[in-house]
């Protein structure tokens, strides 16, 4: 059982991601954010369940849909917003933007705009942890679309051969951009890892407690040098592929979206559980929400008022 303090913390973290992403959408709609962003809304329980089971010095690699992973690993709201707006106070001094946030202090080796592009990085971090004799673990987050990339299989093979402390964390939100995953994925997802002798677990990714418990088990296994594992979390993105993807009925039924939002919203599910188990009441949750909403608002305001990088920074940091 997960104790109630922890559950409350999960709730805060998930709500933080939810409200952060809603604010990102507003910034986009208000033409305040350059470019696009891929919202994590609907998948919060995965990032939070996994990152809460990690130590601060453990590693993660993330994807184009990476804001949730960054926040769950402990990134600061104001510096995240600043990066999204291309400001000098952002995590990457405005050079990375939405798809490239990295937070070295918290073991976040970076989001990645190349689908599957971080399989090598996560596996390499695990190899490095092993060579350096630490007991750090690496989690490689990726969407089911990355199952199309050969790099993933090369890396899983080596991770299994060399018993590396890495967890391949597949978030199956059912769509590769605008195509249902069943049209792009032969056989079973788990079978791919099993072929390398990598143990797999498949769970409901909307249940943060379940994600946390399962991830904890696999992380402990990796920490004890028992090798890699593969965790498949079934989940759903509530918004479009990116903020501009509004008319999506041609590839995803509206009814399906509504069902997920109504019955499998991870934030709502946890709120219900907290109330049902009499850990807190609705009023308390409302208080938490307005508190977090305040943090989000001041983070966004900070970013909106922050300066752009100096023009001369453009050719700095090409080389170390």
């Amino acid at each position: 059982m997960v104790d109630s303090d922890k559950l409350l913390r999960f709730y805060r973290q998930m709500l933080k991601i939810r409200l952060f992403e809603e604010q990102v959408n507003q910034l986009y709609l208000g033409a305040k954010m350059p470019g696009l962003a891929h919202l994590y809304i609907g998948q919060e329980a995965v990032a939070v369940g996994v990152c809460e089971a990690l130590r601060a010095d453990d590693y993660i690699t993330s994807t184009h849909r990476g804001h949730g992973h960054c926040l769950a690993k402990g990134a600061a709201i104001d510096k995240m917003f600043a990066e999204l707006l291309g400001k000098a106070d952002g995590y990457c001094r405005g050079k990375g933007g939405s798809m490239h946030i990295a937070d070295q202090e918290r073991g976040n080796l970076g989001a990645n705009a190349i689908v599957g592009g971080s399989a090598g990085i996560a596996t390499g971090a695990a190899l490095s942890a092993k060579m350096r004799g630490t007991d750090q673990v690496a989690v490689c987050f990726f969407g089911e679309g990355a199952l199309g990339q050969g790099l993933l299989y090369e890396c899983m093979n080596m991770a299994a051969l060399w018993k590396l402390p890495v967890i391949y964390l597949c978030e199956n939100n059912m769509y590769n951009e605008y195509t249902h995953y069943s049209e792009t994925t032969a056989g079973t997802i788990e079978g791919r890892a099993q072929a390398f002798g990598i143990p797999t677990e498949t769970i409901e990714g909307q249940d943060v407690e379940l994600v946390y418990r399962t991830a904890s088990k696999l992380i402990e296994r990796a920490r004890k040098s028992d090798g890699p594992s593969f965790l498949l979390c079934n989940t759903y993105r509530f918004h479009g592929h990116h903020v501009g993807d509004i008319d999506r009925a041609y590839y995803r039924p509206k009814k399906e979206e509504e069902e997920w939002k109504e019955r499998r919203d991870p934030v709502k599910l946890l709120a219900d559980k907290l109330v049902r188990s009499e850990i807190v009441d609705r009023q308390f949750l409302a208080g938490t929400e307005s508190e977090i909403a305040g943090e989000i608002k001041s983070g966004a305001d900070f970013a909106l008022n922050a300066p752009y990088p100096d023009a001369t920074e453009v050719d700095q940091d090409v080389y170390a």
Partner: protein, 335 residues
Amino acid sequence: MAKQAQTTAGRAITFAQAINEALAEEMRRDPKVFILGEDVAEAGTPFKVLSGLVKEFGKERVIDSPISEAGIAGICVGAAMTGMRPVVDIMFGDFATLVMDQMVNQAAKTHYMSGGKLTVPMVMRTTLGATRRSAAQHSQSLHAWFSHIPGLKVVLPATPYDAKGLLKTAIRDDNPVVFFEDKMMYQQKGVVPAQDYTIPFGVADVKRAGKDITLVATSSMVEVSLKAAEILQASNISAEVVDVRTTVPLDKETLIASAQKTTRALVVDEGYERYGVTAEIASVIADGAFYYLDAPVKRMGAMDVPVPFSPVLEDQTVPTPESVAETARKLCGKM
């Protein structure tokens, strides 16, 4: 010249529609032509370039693939070697990194290595161009990489008219052709004939005649150079704008003749400047027009940095009409 043909028959359509039309016409003409790529069918690609093609040609000829760039490129090489004429869609030119072995070590070399027996009549369509606030992994212009490889042809259309005519030529060519489309150009309109026509490879197009300086440009930089020419006009400098249209094969004669006439040349391209296609083109001109030149050949490419996200940084990394005009003015000794 292209200019004249454009005005004879046609209507204004977008660059994206011109690509779409070329594909549709070629697929009607030749049942061996098919499209393979990510989100190409119902979605018609994220840029909506292929919208409607799946309706006419069905899912057997407009095939949605997994996110497997190396795989789809390789499958197209094999299909091309055995009688089909595939067009593979690589969404962002940045993903060229993933298809490189298939294009460079397989597609490009097969005809030569087989002593001329096997052919690879395939087209790889992809994109280039920055300033979309898409950051370092979705903004590069990597056509120089392919231009470096013997056995590949490389096409860089700059107008809807050129896009349709050159894509048809690409599909009918018996060699692997890499076809770059500027993402920022998709919604630009131009006059395009409704009927069939092709534009041969290796024929540069003088997009604007002039007498004081030659601006040689590719793809996205043709429009930039035309705007620069307008600016230069105001300071009484007459710039000729030559669009190379294909870097391989390269129309050396037209480039050299233009530089001989104007006595000055500036080469503008959106790929990284260092070791870019501008270097090759500048050297061709320096060689061929040496005794006519009044100034060293200059070149401008994208700044040699990963493309930054922040608009204030990104906008500095690509040549603009103003920066091209300024460099041209200096070359003409007017500043």
